[in-house]
Symmetry: C2
Amino acid sequence: MKMNNKYEEITIKTEPIFQGKVISLQVDHVRLPNGETATREVVKHPGAVAVLAIKDDKMIVVEQYRKALGRSQVEIPAGKLEQGEDLMEAAKRELEEETGYRCDEVRPVSSFYTSPGFADEILHLFVADRLSAGEANPDEDEFLDCEVISLETAKRYIAEGRISDAKTIAAVYAWQLHRLTGSYTL
Amino acid sequence: MKMNNKYEEITIKTEPIFQGKVISLQVDHVRLPNGETATREVVKHPGAVAVLAIKDDKMIVVEQYRKALGRSQVEIPAGKLEQGEDLMEAAKRELEEETGYRCDEVRPVSSFYTSPGFADEILHLFVADRLSAGEANPDEDEFLDCEVISLETAKRYIAEGRISDAKTIAAVYAWQLHRLTGSYTL
């Protein structure tokens, strides 16, 4: 991967601020390309997986309360990576834990940094389209409802603001693209 | 907007952790639907705007170093909102500051929360397709190069990992959708 790092910011000092369950926060003091100094607030996150799970031409979503937003949201099944976990295994695990649906295979759609301005979180989006139903088994502090929706309903949820997160909107774009071209990927 | 908040998490106490230039961090102690308590790490962000700017069927992008990722990335022009700023004015301002391109009009494509699991950041994506060239004027701690790329180059940059952030990937999906259907929105 060829990278132009001519504007690299050299770390002078890293100030650890917080170590939490999900994220940690540090402030990096950096030297800028012009020789001046600046600070960069950096949130560290273990990364996450999400699944566009399609059954009978409908998408499996979960509705859950998001404390950061102060309201419920409809999202595709997702969760953070556990240490050393294989991405595809993590995607299958999250799908099954949150919805009860199982799949033997997931395929990569896209991986993206959610907020490169302040966080290193990367989200790996997969598609699964051969599913069998089972029983959900969410984490002990996780409360959610599962729903199976058509593309038209997904678009309506986006218009209504019930779906409004980057990974689910990317998944719906990918699904729409698949309808038009047969491919989920760009 | 109808919302199912039956799994609402009631805040018992908010612990302020950090107040920075870009983000702040707090830990919310909450009561869960089952009566148990838990903590939620919440990053507060002022929100951001981004522009899919199209000129002669090419997209205007900027390459800049991202400290959180430790490398350079190619992204669409974007920036955080200033207090009380109109979204469309902010989008036009960021486009002009980062690239020198000016536009009289931007149209909304999509708004999404980048990381609803731990942050309230919302990103408002606009499209601008009638542009005039001018001079870039980035912030004093911002160093970037502007480039104008075709859809095919954008897809190659995604494959190579040079484009790998949520807003730019959403923008490229929207651009691809526009090619196929005449509409940027889902």
